[in-house]
């Protein structure tokens, strides 16, 4: 009985972990391939100048790198708090 409860709680934690992982993966794919598709289909949009020396393309390229940092930070933050805590509580 306790074992069945443990398995059910673990399944809940596992499901939450994969939901977060897949949502963040999809976000990363959307950002990067969105950038690639803009390069392929809207090069003139990316050529638009925001400042002398700063095109929209360069800004978005740098933002893709920054977005990678932010997404990894979001995941680590979530996992260090929610996921680890839920795992620690499983045995109770």
């Amino acid at each position: 009985m306790a074992e069945a409860g443990f398995a059910a709680r673990l399944a809940t934690v596992a499901e939450a972990r994969w939901r977060v992982a897949i949502a963040l993966t999809v976000a990363m794919i959307a950002l990067y391939f969105g950038f690639i598709l803009l390069i392929a289909y809207a090069p003139s949009l990316l050529a638009r100048r925001l400042l002398p020396g700063l095109s929209l393309g360069i800004l978005i390229g740098a933002l893709v790198i920054v977005a990678s940092w932010v997404l990894t930070w979001v995941y680590v933050r979530w996992a260090n708090t929610h996921y680890d805590e839920a795992l620690a509580k499983l045995g109770e």
Binding site: A14, L24, I39, A40, P52
Partner: protein
């Protein structure tokens, strides 16, 4: 300005033996061999040899991951591409980073909790050992060999250009050094070589970035503006490199998911104590690698403005000497020598990591699991791992000399395509999908590897660029857009058509161990109990 360029072309000391470069190079070799000597005394079991006794801290592993990943291709190649094409080169700067979040979200922690030394450990965990490990070893060795050839040939050419020694001598030096690191020092020495190299590479890139920015009022935008004034607004906008959107998407897939299937990167997650440390180490690695690629924006445009695309192509048509030329312009021969030594250290560290992961596939996956069916004792395991290391090291030298003068730039893209089309699908499906079977896993890995090799052969990359034919039968330069879905779909289809309830039954235990770690014994998962 053109007179300056002409003067630069004639006064560049690239290709002449350079005392500073030699000095830094010997310092690097002496330091890393010292580390190897220290590590050798701590490398007594396979656990040490493959995984550094799982004692590497998350911070150390984060730096080492960055060191394993940032190859000379990304340092010299991207700086060269940006300096000669502008914005188009930046497509690579972003592409080489975006796989890392995927590694973190999907791979790092399950891999650490489920495997011991190789990614095949994870795929094979609840399936039949023999067929899965053979297929995984084929994928691993294909990826490692192609990557190794690209690095070796790059190393030979680079060292000849920078130090003025012969191509063959350069290859032999690289081969001997990497064999020494891996053979005697195993993963512990390899890890510290990666750390030293990463610090040197990041430090060198940061120094160049600061020296460039100092000339433009500490503003990257002022630098880009100077580039646009000199070479037209076109350098800040997408240009000719992405003429075919499908090509760009296919390359993007290979870069993004290939990163998550590179054996020498995956192997690093076994060197840390637990899954949380694996998680933290990817976080650090992503930060460092992202910072490095942001710096390539400044290095590339800096070389474009300060050295000039024509002068860069004049020294080496591929543009690979942009960063060294920039260093020479900013700091004279001493800085050139330092950057040349950094580039050499970069190649050495990457080939050491590749050799170790190849040796693990040969000895741990093929010899210990398949040939000896887990009956090899600890001494034999270590001996076989060392024999495999020497064998792979010699193979690397032979391949490097065989491919002298060949256009091997496509091989890195090909290695990423195989990693994305064979290793990644098998890894993800085995982690996520209960109904994945032995036949399905073997199909994904074998079909992924073979279709990638076949399609790259018929692609413009090989038919037009290398074989000089007029046209190619397959239109894409990188086949990942076709081969990655093919690998996923074939693996799923075969698993659904021939279900194996016995193999699926092991998934609950796998799932538990994936989240909780090693508390669940492997014998509770595997249909064929294996002995540690």
């Amino acid at each position: 300005m053109s007179s300056l360029l002409a003067a630069l072309q004639t006064t560049s000391r690239i290709g002449e033996p350079n005392a500073v470069a030699m000095g830094f190079f010997f310092l690097f070799i002496a330091t890393t061999l010292g580390i190897t000597f220290w590590a050798a005394r701590r490398t007594r079991t396979t656990e040490h040899f493959y995984a550094a006794g799982r004692t590497i801290s998350p911070g150390q592993n984060g730096v080492a991951l960055a060191g394993d990943y940032m190859s000379a291709a990304s340092f010299l190649g991207i700086a060269g591409l940006v300096s000669t094409t502008g914005f188009d080169g930046l497509i690579y700067s972003t592409g080489w980073l975006v796989g890392w979040p995927v590694v973190l979200f999907l791979i790092a922690e399950p891999l650490r909790n489920l495997g011991r030394y190789t990614f095949a450990d994870v795929v094979a965990i609840r399936l039949q050992q023999t067929p899965v490990r053979i297929a995984a070893a084929v994928g691993t060795l294909a990826t490692v060999s192609l990557y190794l050839i690209a690095q070796m040939v790059g190393a030979g050419g680079l060292i000849r250009l920078m130090f003025g020694i012969s191509y063959e001598a350069a290859i032999v030096i690289v081969g001997l050094a990497m064999i020494a690191y891996v053979l005697f020092g195993g993963m512990l020495a390899t890890t510290w070589v990666q750390i030293v190299k990463a610090v040197l590479l990041l430090g060198g890139a940061a120094l160049l970035t600061l020296l460039v920015l100092a000339r433009f009022g500490w503003s990257p935008v002022a630098l880009f503006s100077a580039a646009a004034e000199k070479y037209g607004q076109g350098v800040l906008a997408p240009g000719r490199l992405v003429s075919n959107p499908l090509d760009a998407i296919s390359l993007g897939l290979a870069l993004m998911f290939g990163t998550a299937g590179l054996p020498h990167i995956l192997m690093r997650f076994y060197t840390v104590p637990d899954a949380k440390a694996a998680r933290t180490s990817v976080f650090y690695a992503t930060g460092l690698i992202g910072a490095f690629y942001l710096m390539t924006f400044v290095l590339g445009f800096g070389a474009m403005v300060l050295v000039g695309p024509d002068a860069i192509r004049g020294v080496e048509p591929g543009g690979n000497m942009a960063a060294p030329l920039l260093a020479e312009f900013l700091g004279g021969t001493p800085l050139l020598g330092f950057i040349a030594a950094v580039a050499f250290a970069t190649i050495l560290a990457v080939v050491a990591g590749l050799t170790l992961s190849g040796a693990a596939a040969l000895s741990h996956d093929l010899w210990v699991s398949v040939v000896r069916r887990e009956k090899a004792d600890a001494t034999e395991q270590l001996r076989v791992a060392r024999v495999a290391t020497v064998g792979l090291g010699i193979l690397g030298v032979v391949l490097g000399i065989t491919f002298k003068g060949q256009n091997v730039a496509f091989m890195v893209g090909l290695a990423f395509a195989i990693a994305a089309s064979a290793n990644f699908p098998a890894l993800v499906l085995s982690i996520f999908w209960r109904r994945y079977t032995t036949a399905g896993a073997v199909t994904s890995m074998v079909l992924g590897t073979l279709s990638t090799l076949l399609l790259i052969y018929f692609s413009p990359t090989l038919q037009i660029d290398v074989l000089k034919h007029a046209e190619a039968w397959f239109p894409l330069r990188n086949p990942a857009l076709v081969t990655m879905p093919l690998s996923f779909l074939s693996g799923i289809l075969v698993s659904l058509l021939w279900p194996r309830p016995g193999e699926s039954a092991g998934f609950d235990a796998v799932s538990r161990r994936m989240h909780l770690g090693q508390e669940v014994q492997p014998s509770a998962i595997s249909p064929q109990p294996s002995v540690d």
